[in-house]
């Protein structure tokens, strides 16, 4: 799959051999430019997703129904902010600058996971996000703990660990609702209905429509196909839904004894493409909220810079006077 130009570079050959032998790549190692670019795009998109992902859940912090849940939710959203910063740092080891990445997000040039363009109208959505969205994220990310780029792989180890915790919390919220009053059960079922298909689409388009996958797989940036991961998620999640006593909103869902997997229906890809294009229920709201925070805070960041500069000048003046 190499083209004439890169094939002539012996470093490239060595790199490919190293990676295909499951060797890790570190920031100071030589790497092909396309590998660097692909990673920066993937890691920064992941960072943006964590930052934007604070909003749908943050929406319920002030209204969480018990102090215990409130504290857990704040800690979770705080973890997401931490993941975002951690991932921006990983991308910076590849020569990208956080300010540039954030600017690209604010200008609408960078992508983030489309799942965060859906709203959280009820408390049950907080449970559903933890259970399903974090569940899908973990399914996607666990293999990335062995991805070829070292800093990214190590970030993923930490992220996955915390997200498993979040997923359990989310499932516990759902369980409480599912064991609760009729109103709570209804709330839980409706949230599952809202999030099921969007979560299945988090794994990306079907393999036959996913052109970039092959090279990413070769580079071990990606380690399983979209459809493989989607199937794994469905197989894991269906029994959990059954345990909750909730129904998955897919009439085609059925255990396939022969395959040893669940068969399931086709997600509404048209809707997915609309959301990716910017036409989801909350795309504009999410970006506008981020921009507003950024713009409203400009004077604060300027003050911090000005103050640091003053301190530097004073220290300099003092050391010259000495």
């Amino acid at each position: 799959m190499k083209d004439a130009l890169t094939a002539t570079d012996p470093r490239e050959t060595a790199f490919e051999e190293h990676v295909s032998a499951d060797g890790q790549v570190e920031p100071k190692d030589w790497m092909p430019e396309a590998y660097r670019k692909t990673l920066v795009r993937q890691i920064s998109q992941h960072a943006h997703s964590e930052i934007i992902g604070m909003q749908p859940e943050g929406n319920w912090i002030t209204r969480a129904p018990s102090l215990r849940r409130k504290v857990a939710l704040i800690a979770k959203v705080q973890d997401e902010a931490g993941h975002g910063l951690y991932l921006y740092s990983a991308a910076e080891t590849l020569g990208a600058s956080r300010d540039d990445m954030v600017d690209a997000l604010l200008e609408g040039k960078a992508k983030y996971s489309s799942i965060f363009n859906y709203p959280t109208p009820t408390w049950a959505d907080i449970g559903a996000i933890g259970w399903l969205v974090d569940g899908a994220a973990i399914t996607n990310q666990v293999p990335l703990c062995r991805t070829s780029y070292g800093p990214y792989a190590r970030a993923m180890v930490r992220v996955c660990k915390e997200e498993s915790f979040h997923q359990r919390q989310g499932y516990e919220i759902m369980l409480q609702l599912a064991r609760g009053t009729d109103a709570q059960k209804k709330m839980a079922q409706e949230a599952l209905n809202r999030w099921w298909w969007p979560c299945l689409m988090m794994f990306g388009p079907p393999d036959h429509d996913s052109p970039n996958s092959a090279r990413s797989m070769a580079w071990k940036i990606k380690r399983h196909s979209n459809d493989e991961l989607r199937q794994r998620f469905v197989d894991q999640t269906v029994p959990q839904a059954e345990f909750l006593g909730l129904s998955i909103p897919d009439p085609d869902l059925k255990w396939n004894e022969e395959r040893g997997h669940y068969d399931f229906g086709t997600p509404p890809w048209d809707e997915f493409m609309e959301v990716v294009k910017g036409n989801g229920p909350c795309n504009r709201q999410r970006l506008n909220a981020r921009r507003k925070a950024h713009d409203d805070g400009a004077w604060v960041r300027e003050a911090a810079l000005a103050h640091a500069e003053k301190r530097r000048e004073r220290a300099e003046a003092a050391s010259q006077a000495a």
């Binding site: 930052i51 604070m54 909003q55 943050g58 912090i61 002030t62 209204r63 969480a64 129904p65 018990s66 102090l67 215990r68 849940r69 409130k70 504290v71 704040i74 800690a75 959203v77 705080q78 902010a81 931490g82 975002g84 910063l85 408390w123 919220i173 409480q176 609760g180 009053t181 109103a183 709570q184 909220a289 981020r290 507003k292 925070a293 950024h294 409203d296 805070g297 400009a298 004077w299 604060v300 960041r301 300027e302 003050a303 911090a304 000005a306 103050h307 003053k310």
Partner: protein, 249 residues
């Protein structure tokens, strides 16, 4: 015990309401690092609130718990000082509110750690370290804002002018607290004033800000006389428990 219940409610409400205000900043603050820091403060305060309100519920022994106390009282039953319920305003207002609270809270927790009430003493022992960090955070930011740009100085001074009068209520005492001071349970707030004044003056000096001279000393929180802003905070905070009564979450 009724005195200790009332005292734990006062302290618990201070933490609860300030924690709630801080949590409103989530995903809205000037920097991602600040989002994390403000959530940290809010988590510490909610942590204290939970222990204190549970302690009050246990001593009272009337079937309430931390959640029914937090979510099922109306405005007149809250006992927090007015300072902590003041709206977030801009970042300068939030930081000034926090500096005023932290300058009081650190010596307060230090003193409360010696309380004859074991739970209060334990909460305070844990809180001392948190409060030291809170104060470092808020003081450093106030210094940055005060000694930053012209705009940040102007905003910080305006926030200080607006909020400084609310600090007086932190040092108010009454018959109830006097009894508890004698019993070795409560902290003598008035005795903390010199340390508060000194610490605040040092921070303001470095921040090039001036404490406003005012005779206005708003008060009433301990008697349940709150500002209108608290009503909206409660409507939001209590929504779920009110809309779905008798549910477990």
């Amino acid at each position: 015990a009724a005195d200790v219940v009332a005292y734990a409610l006062r302290l618990g409400d201070d933490s609860l309401i300030l924690g709630q205000r801080l949590s409103e900043w989530c995903a809205k603050s000037p920097e991602m690092e600040l989002d994390i820091a403000l959530m940290n403060l809010s988590l510490d305060l909610f942590g204290r609130a939970r222990t204190l309100l549970s302690h009050a519920a246990a001593l009272e022994n009337e079937g309430r718990d931390e959640d029914s106390i937090a979510f099922l009282r109306d405005i007149g039953d809250f006992r927090n000082v007015l300072l902590v319920e003041q709206p977030n305003g801009d970042f300068a207002e939030t930081i000034v509110r926090q500096v005023l609270f932290d300058c009081f809270d650190l010596p307060f927790q230090e003193a409360l750690a010696a309380s004859a009430d074991e739970t209060l003493a334990a909460v305070a022992a844990k809180a001392v370290k948190e409060s030291a960090y809170h104060l470092r955070f808020s003081a450093n930011w106030l210094i940055r804002l005060g000694d930053g740009t012209e705009e940040s100085h102007r905003r910080a001074q305006a926030a200080l002018d607006a909020l400084a009068p609310y600090a007086h209520e932190l040092f108010e005492t009454d018959a109830l607290e006097d009894r508890l001071i004698k019993a070795g349970v409560a902290v003598d707030r008035a005795a903390l004033r010199p340390r508060f004044d000194e610490r605040l003056a040092a921070i303001l000096k470095e921040a090039t800000l001036t404490l406003p001279g005012t005779e206005w000393r708003p008060t009433g929180g301990r008697r349940g006389e709150h500002s209108e802003a608290l009503g909206f905070l409660l409507a939001e905070m209590q929504w779920m428990q009110r809309a779905y009564p008798d549910s477990e979450w």
